[in-house]
Symmetry: C2
Subunit: 298 residues, 2 copies
C-alpha cells in the first residue's frame, strides 16, 4: 500500500447491462457457440480486466462483489476466479466482498472456498485465493473465528461489517444496545477478534467495514478499534466524500481503504470520453485526495 502511495480500492460490481464496449466486442462471434450464462460471464470478465488495466495503477486493491458473479452461475464463479488471478498478477490485493456469516461449521466452508482450499477425495480443491473477505457478524464471534484463523494462516484479512453505507443501516446498526449504538459494540467485537492477529506494523488482520456515508462516526470507531484497517465503501455514487474520512487514517496511512465502484468504472458517463481514460483519471484523483488526507492525519 505504501509503495503504491494509494489507499484506493477499485470496486467491481459488474452489471451485464452496463459493460464497457470492449466487453461486447470481444465476445464469442457465434451466439450459439456457448450458452447465455457463459457468454455473459466472459463479457463480464473482459470488462473487469479492462477496468483493472485502466484504473488499477492508481489502486492498491480490487473489491469484487460476489453477488454480481454468483448471479451468472457456474460460469460466473469461474470468471470470478480468473479476475482474482488477473488482479493479483498485477500486484493488486483482492477483497472478496460477500458479507458471509454463518454457523461455525459453515463459516469454515466459506473460509476454505474464499481464502484457502477444501480437502476432498481427489486432493484439495483450490479456493478463490482472495487476500481478504468481508463478513457479517450477526451470528457472533464463533462465526468469525474460522475466517480469522484461516486469514492468519494464509496472511490474509477479514473486514467485518460495523456500519454499512445504505440508508436502512441505521435501523439496527445504530440501535442502542446497553447504552451505546450497536455499531460501537461491533467495533469492540472486531477489536477483540483481532487482538491475536496483529502484525508488526501494528495493524490487525481483522478490519472494519464503515460506510463513507457516515463520516461522523469514524473518530469514535477508530477509538474502539485502534488497530483495525477501515474499509470504507460509499464514496462517490452513494454520496460519501473522501475529504471527510481523515479519522480512519489517524494511526497509520494504511489504516484506511477507500472503496469506489461506480464513480470509477462509470466515470465516463459524467466526464465523457472512453471509459478507460475516464476511469484512470477518476481513480487517480481519488488516490491523490486520499493520500494527501492520510499524510495530514497520520
Amino acid at each position: 500500500m505504501l509503495e503504491r502511495r494509494s489507499q484506493v480500492v477499485l470496486g467491481l460490481d459488474p452489471d451485464p447491462m452496463a459493460l464497457w464496449p470492449e466487453a461486447l466486442a470481444e465476445g464469442p462471434a457465434s451466439p450459439g457457440g456457448s450458452d447465455v450464462a457463459e457468454r455473459t460471464a466472459m463479457a463480464v470478465a473482459v470488462h473487469c480486466r479492462a477496468a483493472i488495466e485502466a484504473a488499477g495503477g492508481a489502486c492498491v486493491a480490487v473489491k469484487l462483489q460476489l453477488a454480481c458473479f454468483e448471479r451468472l452461475g457456474g460460469p460466473g464463479w469461474s470468471m470470478l476466479a480468473e479476475v482474482v488471478a488477473y488482479a493479483r498478477a498485477r500486484g493488486l490485493l483482492t477483497i472478496a466482498d460477500g458479507k458471509r456469516g454463518d454457523v461455525p461449521v459453515t463459516a469454515r466452508a466459506y473460509a476454505q472456498g474464499l481464502l484457502g482450499d477444501t480437502p476432498g477425495p481427489f486432493g484439495p480443491v483450490p479456493g478463490l485465493g482472495a487476500d481478504a473477505v468481508t463478513l457479517n457478524p450477526l451470528l457472533g464471534v464463533d462465526s468469525l473465528e474460522p475466517f480469522v484463523a484461516r486469514a492468519v494462516g494464509e496472511g490474509a484479512g477479514c473486514f467485518v461489517l460495523v456500519r454499512t453505507s445504505n440508508p436502512g443501516a441505521a435501523e439496527l446498526q445504530d440501535a442502542s444496545v446497553g447504552g451505546s449504538p450497536l455499531h460501537e459494540r461491533l467495533a469492540r467485537l472486531v477489536h477483540e477478534a483481532g487482538e491475536q492477529a496483529t502484525g508488526a506494523c501494528g495493524l490487525s488482520s481483522v478490519g472494519v467495514v464503515a460506510g463513507a456515508t457516515k463520516p461522523g462516526l469514524l473518530a469514535r470507531l477508530r477509538e474502539l478499534a485502534p488497530r483495525a484497517i477501515f474499509l470504507m465503501p460509499g464514496v462517490g455514487a452513494q454520496g460519501g466524500r473522501v475529504e471527510e474520512l481523515g479519522p480512519a487514517f489517524a494511526p497509520h496511512p494504511a489504516g484506511g481503504l477507500v472503496t469506489a465502484s461506480r464513480s470509477i468504472v462509470d466515470a465516463h458517463r459524467e466526464r465523457g470520453g472512453h471509459p478507460a481514460g475516464a476511469a484512470a483519471a477518476a481513480a487517480d484523483e481519488l488516490r491523490e485526495a486520499a493520500w494527501a488526507l492520510s499524510r495530514a492525519a497520520g
Copy 2:
C-alpha cells in the same frame, strides 16, 4: 406440505470427505479426465442426488448450504443448479441457504441469481431457480426488500435470521435493544416486511429462521411474527429436539419447518447399515414426530 404430511427439510451441506460410497464409485474413471474441482463437484452432486432419492419422500423441502458448493468454485455452482433441478423434479421445495445480506443494489443482484434471472446483452441469464432463500437482516429492511419483491413476484419465499442455532448467537442476537432482546426486534421486522406478502392460507412469504436449539424462545417469537413460517435448524447433531418445537406450529401445521442435515445424511454412522436406508428411516421418524406435534399444536 400438507399433502406430503411432512414438515421436514432435508439439509444438504456436503463435505467432500464424508460422501456416500456411491458418490466415489460413480466418479470419472480416469483421474486426469477432469480437474479436481470438477471431479469433486460431480461426486458431491451424486451424493446429494442419492440423499434426495433416499430421504426425499419423507421431506417437503431440501435446504442447500451454498457454502458447500461455493467452495468448489464454478463446477460447484453448476452442480448446485443441477441438484436444485433434481430436487424440484421430485416435488421438493428448494431453499438456498446462503444467509445473504447486502446493500439494496447488491441485494437485487443476489435475488436475481437465487430466485430470478439477470438481464444481460445476450438475453436473460437464468438464476438458480430456488423456491426460497435465507437472509441476514443486519443491514436493515432496505436490504431485504429486493428479495421480498422478487419472492412475491416468483411465488417464492425468504427466511430471515432471527435467532440462529450456534452457541455464539447469544452474544448479539440476545443483547438487549430498547428493553427487549435483539431477536425480538428482528421478529417484528420480519412481521412488518411480510405484511404485504401474506397469502390466502394466512402465511407470509417472509419467514423466520429460529434455531431448534433455543425452543424456549419460540412461543414469544410466534406471538411477534404470527404469519411467518419458522425454519428451524439445529435438530439432531446440534442438540435440538423436535418434541420441543410445538409453539412454531401453533397457527397452522405449515407454520414450522424442521431442518435436519447430519442427523439424516449421516444417520448410518450411528444406526449402521447402508447410508440410504439409514437416512430414509431417520427422515421418516422425524416426519412422524413433527407431524404428530403439529396436529397437537394446531
